[in-house]
Symmetry: none
Subunit: 423 residues, 2 copies
């Protein structure tokens, strides 16, 4: 079945609030196996509201409308929806009583406009709102379902979970199941080319690619009569993707981020880590420390933006900095080694680069970054060229550093296993 | 003039990402004096995209379309918009060259699908994208303006600010001039109450309040026949706001961020700074290092997430940590003093707190944060209680730390001036 989301509120059109309701409802609908082709935002204007509802009814089976159910004159959603559905409003005694109770419990005076919230379209289902005064409304006719919910997320979400989700579940044939294969160290267009044949050859499951900074996510989605059958369709495709991308796949779990994958790898191998950063100024450490439980592996972080700090904190020789420059392969190597020496961590990552907007030269342009990684004494240094603003270059550097750490740790252990370590 | 926003992307319809682009663009359009009646979201489907563009053209003068300009087969926005506008696509040589350069600089192989991004609608303006490979597009005909921008915010926002905003500004009758009064250390609802009378008493200029993490921005916007006249209307209102918020106003300049205000204050007073962070794991240093030219003032940054690191790097006594705990006023004080001692910086900022989701107790709940600041030996420590997710608590902490640094430096100098330093 097809669902369309309509968010009502001038505050969204003015950019005063971000429409998180739409993201929440979309995710829930996808999980319920409902197809969503459009999301609309419209202001508190009866004519435009009616037009939007009419258009949506022409192309969807279910309308999820949030916002505009409040007590003020601006709140017109119920009136507009009832008009389009050809229903009159009547005073719903139970809603009236519960509004009265809500105000009495809080010792608040009821102003007349509040009774507006007890007016309901004929023949509708009134949906309880335990977190506010505006009840929800379900109108169903000729196979179309128009569902009205309050706008504030702390009222809308509990109402959706308690009352609307079960209602939608009963309307559905079959379910949807998705799994995401997360990849690092491969660019978006290369990743897409590598799965083009799979994308083209099948419609269930489907494969969608999403580019993140320094990562690509491949989402595999299947529809089937029940979750078990849908999972069965997804499984071989995920296996195929894992085969194609090999060790670039860092997880297939929804909640695992790249930094969590790195921390998990450190934990699994009982390795500690220290960071030493120049142009990223602490962002790599901050990403790692975003992982709850990182305290078991994180030793210390050094931010050595100046040459003086590099010398004083890490013991890097002035002559090396003079000869090769602060942004050089050699300095990145010495930073990684120095951090390992002073912090006694098993793994260290070092970053030195030119984030711009100034400071670039022809030989060393803005965006040139060296990342070093030492794993139990074996040091790898890579050169990168990033583009964009200072913030973008730093963000790309952080993702590349996490990917490199992961790669170096995996390599170190595969070499140890095969007895070919150069340590 | 009327603007309509269209966000393109199946990932928005699936709820994988929150549509922050729409909020950003709406805010900017409101500031430019453009009326927005609808926001639409549609997936990567040519037929539905064409329908949405056609409908929007029927009710708006300007279409701001973001997303779907990438190199993959899914990316159909340019093709759909050109079709609706009746324009053929041709190979734009400059875009081709810049894509080639982008890949060559990175030593990456160009796959065939990338050339798709160099195909442009006849007669369009091609808009430079310094942060990615997909250029923007402006098509104008019969008083209608269709503007295409890439979806990733780090590409869309700079493109909007650099190229699209000036274009939209020229379409307008009269001009709009805005100035933003940026405030730190005052909560949103208090700030709103303090300006309620001004907001209600005037319509030109208008005052809009925007809550940011740890900050409130008050945007004063006037419309007049030319910029000079608009500036003249804005000036007395900005002056009034400065008077009401006093030293909480850290800037009235668009491009000055809170971290830049702090760095400027350090530079003006020839002060150096070092940071020492626990739960924020480098984010305060990273915010400071986001300011170009910070190298003159930034000495070093320490990330001491564990007690061991606090002892080893800063010389904090074990007995103090045992007696008061790592998250305590005393530890924050010793961290700030320790960092001043080991780094020899004039100003140091220290952070210790419980970012959650675990680790909270009844006595020390999640969200409890102590921030210390030492200015030339005078140490101030403040206690904070933040709410929300781990990420949100860390973000609030960083803003509070910057505000506290600013406050402590200003206080120190006002006391020095008046001869009442407790140094």
């Amino acid at each position: 079945m097809i669902v369309e989301l309509i968010s009502v509120g001038t505050e969204i059109l003015l950019g005063n609030i971000v429409n998180t309701n739409a993201a929440y409802l979309s995710e829930q609908c996808a999980a319920l196996g409902l197809s969503c082709y459009y999301q609309d935002v419209v202001g508190d204007n009866e004519e435009r509201l009616c037009e939007t509802i009419r258009t949506a009814l022409g192309r969807a089976d279910i309308l999820l409308i949030s916002g505009g159910l409040g007590p003020t004159q601006d709140d017109l959603t119920k009136e507009a929806a009832a008009k389009v559905m050809g229903k009159a409003l009547y005073l719903h005694e139970e809603s009236k009583a519960s509004i009265q109770q809500f105000f009495e419990e809080r010792g608040l005076e009821i102003t007349d406009n509040n009774w507006k919230q007890a007016m309901m379209p004929e023949g509708c289902i009134v949906v309880d709102n335990p977190n506010g005064t505006a009840p929800g409304v379900i109108m169903a006719e000729n196979g179309k379902h128009v569902i009205l919910m309050p706008g504030p997320p702390n009222e809308m979400i509990p109402m959706f979970e308690t009352s609307i989700m079960p209602y939608l579940g009963k309307l559905q044939d079959g379910v949807i199941f998705s799994q995401t294969v997360k990849i690092c160290g491969v660019g978006e267009s290369k990743a897409e080319t590598m799965v083009q044949d799979l994308i083209e050859s099948q419609s269930n499951p489907t494969i969608a690619t999403y580019a993140k900074t320094g990562e690509v996510h491949l989402r595999v989605t299947a529809r089937a009569e029940d979750e078990k059958a849908a999972r069965k369709l997804v499984k071989p495709v995920v296996k195929e993707l894992k085969g194609r991308f090999g060790s670039h796949v860092y997880t297939t779990e929804e909640e695992v981020t790249l930094e969590k994958a790195v921390v998990d790898l450190l934990l699994a191998n009982k390795l500690t880590i220290s960071t030493v950063e120049s142009c990223t100024g602490g962002l790599v450490a901050a990403r790692l420390i975003n992982v709850a439980g990182v305290s078991e592996v994180f030793k210390s972080g050094y931010i050595t933006y100046s040459n003086k700090a590099k010398r004083r904190l890490l013991g890097i020789k002035k002559s090396l900095l003079v000869k090769h420059g602060a942004v050089s392969k050699e300095t990145a190597r010495e930073m990684a080694k120095g951090a390992a020496l002073v912090s006694k961590a098993d793994v260290t990552v070092s970053i030195t680069g030119i984030a711009g907007p100034d400071g670039g030269t022809e030989e060393k342009p803005v965006g040139l970054v060296y990342i070093g990684c030492s794993v139990c004494g074996k040091v790898t240094v890579k050169e990168y060229h990033f583009r964009g603003s200072r913030a973008k270059i730093r963000e790309s550097t952080v993702s590349a550093a996490l990917a490199l750490m992961r790669e170096c740790i995996l390599e170190y252990y595969s070499e140890v296993t095969f007895g070919s370590s150069e340590k």
